[in-house]
């Protein structure tokens, strides 16, 4: 058993590692690199959940951590790797995103700053895990949102959505210390089904448009 200061240090270090992993998603271009980056991030997230379980002593969180590892770090990347392998389009990387990768990093850094600032304003009493991880979960949410709006390829948008989901998940675990297991399982099931549906959509897109660039998806409008 560690003493209290060591525990807090551990929490801080793991939070920083999680943030670095998230930046890893921001700077990736190729589809398989992107998915690898997402997988690393999720494995670290599972580790963070296990750490919180250790610090707070809530055994349910170990199960949640194992579920995260199983569903989000193994099954979901596997599904998406399969999809990228089968895609018709020869170009499997983010060619020229709306915001260049260099500026993306700067914007993401600003988003992290903003998250820390927002978290300070919140009337949530500071228990150690909350004060460490609340800003991180906000950062994940905002960076995921930023990835969705700044990228041109549908696959990058899915990874953005999954990053949002990871942030939400971290937030839920930290604030509630694990609400009932049924809800966690339901959440995971929703995410899994969502990923499968978006994979089918990716296939359809590459079949009908010969690419998964979302510039093809601008015909429905009122003018």
């Amino acid at each position: 058993m560690f003493d209290l200061p060591t525990q807090i240090d551990l929490l801080h270090v793991s939070a920083v590692i999680l943030l670095i992993a998230t930046f890893g998603i921001v700077v990736r271009r190729g589809f398989s690199d992107l998915l690898h980056a997402y997988r690393y991030q999720t494995i670290i997230l599972a580790g963070v959940v296990a750490l919180i379980a250790f610090v707070t002593g809530i055994w349910e969180l170990y199960i949640v951590s194992a579920l995260t590892l199983g569903i989000k770090a193994i099954i979901i990347p596997k599904v998406l790797f399969y999809v990228t392998k089968k895609l018709d389009s020869p170009i499997k990387l983010e060619m020229n995103p709306y915001v260049s990768l260099r500026i993306s990093v700067i914007v993401s850094a600003l988003l992290v700053t903003m998250s820390y600032f927002t978290a300070l304003q919140l009337p949530i009493s500071s228990d150690d895990t909350i004060s460490v991880f609340l800003p991180v979960s906000f950062s994940l949410f905002f960076i995921g949102l930023f990835i969705i709006i700044s990228r041109r390829k549908a696959l990058s948008q899915i990874v953005g959505l999954l990053t949002i989901e990871n942030g939400l998940f971290l937030f839920a675990v930290v604030v509630t210390h694990g609400f009932s297991l049924i809800i966690e399982i339901g959440l995971m099931a929703d995410i899994l089904v969502g990923v499968i549906i978006s994979s089918i959509l990716l296939f359809r897109m590459s079949q009908t448009f010969d690419s998964i660039d979302i510039k093809n998806l601008e015909s429905l409008r009122d003018d």
């Binding site: 919140l122 009337p123 949530i124 009493s125 949410f141 949102l145 969705i148 549908a154 948008q157 959505l161 949002i164 989901e165 939400l168 937030f171 839920a172 604030v175 509630t176 210390h177 694990g178 609400f179 009932s180 049924i182 809800i183 339901g186 959440l187 929703d190 089904v193 969502g194 549906i197 978006s198 089918i200 959509l201 359809r204 897109m205 009908t208 448009f209 979302i214 093809n216 998806l217 601008e218 015909s219 429905l220 009122d222």
Partner: protein, 505 residues
């Protein structure tokens, strides 16, 4: 207020209500014959309607039902939702036979897709029914997210470019929106857990528990959380400016599904919003959430008014009209007096009925004319007399002409706006309603009475497409003259649930 009433009849009813669509979905998967899957779906949705009516009577008697140790909780508000879901669901399953049958004959869908359609249809009903019966707000969220996933599957049934675009936008925007709502729910849960020392995490997210503890919540946290909820569920409920996915998704779906999406699913999301509106009203008074609801309602009306004026596509016009009506419901709740809330809940039912009539008839019309463009669709009353007449009634009802049902609820809404002294808001509502009246009316008259462009064979599209419309038109007429007594009591009870939240604080 929240007496635990355990009666085996109700618990059996709720369980069978939820199991019926699941079983029917399984049967569809097993049998795969066109005739059989159609009949199974019709029978199951009819059973759902009957069970819904039985539940309604017992809710009228007991006011609230808690069963299975608080997993399911039903009150008058849930009953209104259940009754709209089951009514529109049943009629939509009737209409599907004709509509999807035609698509099948025209080789737009094959057998495999037809099976997928009916599987999706049943699962869609299941997920929507799960929303109003679950007591745990986390499970309610999961059910609403599941409705997104199932309806995306139904929209991408056609492999057209436009349906791929619509489903992608819908999936992305609705999922991001709903994740904001979950942030809000967790904030509320946190506020609950801070207050309650004898807190257990299983019931901490229950509506009954939260509503009871609400007056002790931290006010700042509640405000913050409610904004998340409003943006999140507002996205799914089609409130502007988060409505951008709605016209695409609703216009690209098969018509029976458009009816369910517009008439019922929007209400399900709004139901989630309402539950938190009540909690927040109990905690910090109703003024905060009321103001926000009015603002979003007015913005929705304004955006719908301009979009309907410039609209060229029939189904998109109907979709924007849904944005308008969600705006009306939201503003009407926001006016915060009994009359307005009563009008809003009445409007939920009225809008569901009229909008499904319009989507059914416009589905038949676009199948006959083979276009969705307003300009190319003219003289419906000459080419398809009965459907044209139904479309006319629906159109007149939706723009609020007396003696149809929507006139009543719109009137209640406006008078509540003035008597609660929201003069600016009411004036804006009148302005936008007038614009919508004029532009929708212009499109409607052109479509119904204009001269048919080319020689078309005269005739409607079969009895099974007419039957659901006839039922809906008679409901519109009856509800326009008077609201049946049991329904009146139900809506009054539900309005009190929403209103008491404000008064108690």
């Amino acid at each position: 207020m929240f007496d635990t009433i355990f009666t085996s009849v109700e618990s059996a009813l709720v369980v069978s209500l939820l199991l019926t669509p699941v079983i029917s979905g399984l049967l569809v998967t097993v049998f795969k014959r066109k005739r059989i899957i159609e009949t199974t779906t019709i029978i199951s949705s009819f059973l759902i309607l009957i069970q819904g009516l039985f539940l309604l009577t017992s809710i009228l008697e007991k006011k609230s039902i808690i069963i299975f140790d608080g997993i399911f909780y039903l009150d008058s508000l849930s009953a209104i939702m259940i009754i709209t879901i089951s009514l529109v669901g049943f009629l939509s399953s009737l209409y599907s036979v004709n509509y999807m049958g035609r698509q099948y004959d025209k080789l737009i869908v094959d057998r495999k897709k037809l099976v997928r359609y009916y599987q999706g249809f049943n699962m869609f009903l299941f997920t929507m029914l799960l929303v109003p019966v679950s007591n745990n707000l986390g499970i309610m969220w999961i059910a609403i997210e599941a409705t997104t996933l199932v309806s995306v599957l139904l929209i991408m049934l056609y492999t057209k470019q436009s349906s791929i675009e619509a489903s992608w936008k819908y999936l992305l925007i609705a999922t991001v929106g709903l994740s904001l709502a979950l942030f809000g729910i967790i904030f509320f849960y946190y506020a609950n857990s801070v207050y309650d020392n004898s807190f257990n995490s299983i019931h901490g997210m229950d509506w009954t528990n939260m509503a009871e503890n609400a007056p002790q919540f931290d006010p700042n946290l509640v405000k913050f959380a409610f904004i998340f909820i409003l943006v999140g569920f507002g996205t799914k409920a089609g409130l502007a400016p988060m409505h951008t996915w709605l016209p695409d998704a609703h216009s690209e779906a098969p018509s029976p599904i458009s009816a369910l999406l517009s008439g019922v699913l929007l209400n399900c999301a709004f139901y989630g919003l309402l539950r938190f509106h009540i909690i927040s009203s109990r905690s910090i008074g109703s003024e905060f959430s009321n103001t926000l609801l009015i603002i979003l309602g007015i913005i929705s009306l304004g955006i719908a008014a301009t979009s309907i004026y410039f609209q060229k596509d029939v189904k998109r016009m109907l979709a924007f009209s849904s944005v308008e009506h969600m705006g009306i419901i939201s503003a009407s709740i926001g006016f915060g007096i009994f009359l307005g809330i009563y009008g809003a809940l009445l409007h939920v039912i009225n809008h569901a009925v009229v909008k499904s009539l319009l989507f059914f008839s416009s589905g038949s019309i676009s199948q006959k004319y083979q276009t969705k463009s307003i300009a190319d669709t003219s003289g419906i009353i000459k080419t398809m007399p009965i459907t044209g007449f139904m479309f006319l009634i629906g159109g007149l009802a939706i723009i609020g002409m007396p003696p149809f049902n929507i006139f009543m609820s719109k009137f209640l809404m406006l008078s509540s706006g003035f008597s609660s002294e929201n003069f600016l808001a009411s004036a804006l509502v009148i302005l936008f309603l007038l614009i919508i009246f004029a532009s929708f009316g212009k499109h409607l008259l052109h479509m119904v009475f204009g001269n048919p462009k080319s020689k078309m064979e005269k005739g409607d599209l079969g009895k099974l497409s007419i039957l659901p419309m006839v039922i809906l038109v008679s409901v519109i007429f009856i509800m326009g003259i008077y609201v049946p007594e049991p329904l009146q009591i139900l809506i009054e009870d539900a309005s009190k649930i929403i209103l008491v939240g404000g008064a108690n604080s």
